[in-house]
Symmetry: C2
Subunit: 330 residues, 2 copies
């Protein structure tokens, strides 16, 4: 695999909601996108999705060469892949299907191109198992919807080369995503596990009759969730430690956290009763607001928050760049 | 206890960072505040804190009668409490001390006034145990800093009257807070448990070598944390279920969540090694940014996010009010 194959042409395999969202993002970042999907109405649905997503992407900001005209669609996967520099795969989440699909993608894609899978449930070692060039296969798992949420989880399989991971991370970073390197293949990667950990305790407290559904939502989105919307938990602990920072926090304030760990709920399944409680409680919380109204609420706030974060990043970059220079000259 | 004693005078017992933050908020909401603390420099430190917090409160919005001149300070707790309509207690977190303190507060406060404790670690049943009028004692636990973060957790003790809880909730709501009713006394109330649940999985993944500290922070604040900054997890699941909403989510999409629950880390303590890894990783992530710079970054983004949320609430209120009216007339 060439270390620096320039990425101009991106192939999207599978144009369901995840694939269509990726396609929108890549077009907005100025790439040529060739999408492929065997479903009958795939092209029309994809173009419809992109038109809707484009409004958000205009708010987030379009790159110089961004254009919806740079989209091509073909139901012939081989054709879509023949000159792809980068492939983003979004096929069905069935291991057998995925192994065969990756063997086919691998055979049709130039051997020095990168192949990334959006899979949340299948490990890269499994997906790459029948590839001739497995060394360029990674997971590049987005958080939905990929054209809005910056996180991408990059995971290598047993046969993936380290430089593939580096290339994928630097590619995603170059288009404004926030990639992380998941260093071991674990169930659910990282973000879904973290989401599950939080949800588990909420469901436990609902089941125990400590809170109702709406209060669980309030506890997150008007409490710690506000902070997680602007900064990660450990950097927040660094600030929670006062002048002593994270050192002080770990030495003197981590005790209560561990105390709470011991008392957390240990549930491993949703009971039918708690499912029903959650359904009823959530519908009560939603009240008269339709799914569409709530989506609009969520997305308009999310776009404003992203604009706030972008400003915050710019402000933070000046001292960080200075710091990097100082570190280099030290 | 009178059901509707009007709240004009608020007493703050204990003016450390939490008490000082509450005092700032109550002044900004137009109340008369009398603060008391036995520490030598308490008044000067309190006024300094309020002056700094006032800048944030001006951004968040001051109520018509807001004034820092409505603050009185006395080291005589009895005097501070004699005409208090509402007491917000923020004393040291030691059970013996707290039991005695509450007996004293109870004796000095008009018997139809409400007494709320900011305690995160001691249950209201313990605190109220030696009070003559324990029925008006609740926990009103804020999320730090109380003058910025809207969440307040209201918890009753064994001897607390239900109407005390209602009054506390409606008081906090009337000044723009987002109170929740914690229906059972549990360790850490709710938000700290949720924070602990999320942190536990991050620490586990760090310990397992799956992620480093910075990637754990990125996974939250550029991923699901962005959404938790605008909406609670179950309302988000309602939208994640597509047109079928939460019903569809619970029936067809909750399976993977439960799968992840089974695989989550089970750690119950910080090892010395993981503490050291977290300290080093957090300092690396902070880079050249000082605690002050990072605080400024966090707080300026937080205030913008709160403004976004306030706008979102206003937009959402119209249909909700309509819905409530329809429900009433149905």
């Amino acid at each position: 695999m060439a270390k620096d194959r320039q990425i101009r042409n991106i192939a999207i395999v599978g144009t369901g909601v995840i694939g269509a969202s990726w396609a929108s993002l890549y077009l907005a970042r100025g790439f040529n996108v060739t999408a492929t999907d065997p479903a009958p109405n795939a092209e029309a649905n994809l173009r419809k999705f992109i038109d809707a997503a484009w409004k958000d992407l205009q708010v987030i900001g379009l790159s110089p060469n961004a254009s919806r005209d740079h989209l091509q669609f073909t139901s012939d996967m081989k054709k879509a892949l023949s000159d792809a520099d980068f492939v983003q795969e979004n096929g069905p989440e069935r291991p057998d299907f995925k192994i065969k699909l990756f063997a086919d993608i691998d055979a049709a894609t130039p051997p020095d191109s990168l192949i990334a899978s959006s899979s949340s449930g299948i490990t890269p070692s499994v997906m790459q198992s029948k590839c001739t060039h497995p060394e360029r296969v990674v997971v590049g798992h987005p958080f939905n919807p990929p054209h809005v949420i910056p996180l991408v989880e990059v995971v290598a399989g047993a046969k993936t080369l380290p430089q593939t991971v580096e290339q994928a991370i630097s590619f995603y970073r170059s288009i404004g995503k926030k990639p992380i390197h998941v260093r071991k293949e674990v169930v659910g990667h990282v973000a879904n596990r973290l989401q599950a950990a939080l949800t588990r305790e909420i469901v436990y407290l609902i089941e125990q009759g400590v809170i109702d559904v709406a209060d669980g939502d309030t506890a997150v989105c008007w409490g710690p969730g506000l902070r997680w919307g602007v900064m990660g938990p450990h950097l927040l602990f660094h600030l929670g430690g006062g002048q002593g920072g994270i050192q002080h926090f770990m030495e003197h304030l981590s005790g209560p956290v561990a105390t709470w760990w011991k008392d957390l709920g240990k549930i491993t399944d949703y009971t039918p009763e708690v499912k029903q409680t959650i359904i009823e409680g959530t519908l009560r919380e939603a009240g008269n607001r339709s799914i569409e109204e709530l989506e609009l609420e969520r997305d308009s706030m999310l776009l404003e928050l992203l604009a706030t974060r972008a400003k915050g990043e710019k402000a933070a970059q000046a001292p960080t760049a200075r710091g990097a220079k100082q570190a280099r000259s030290a």
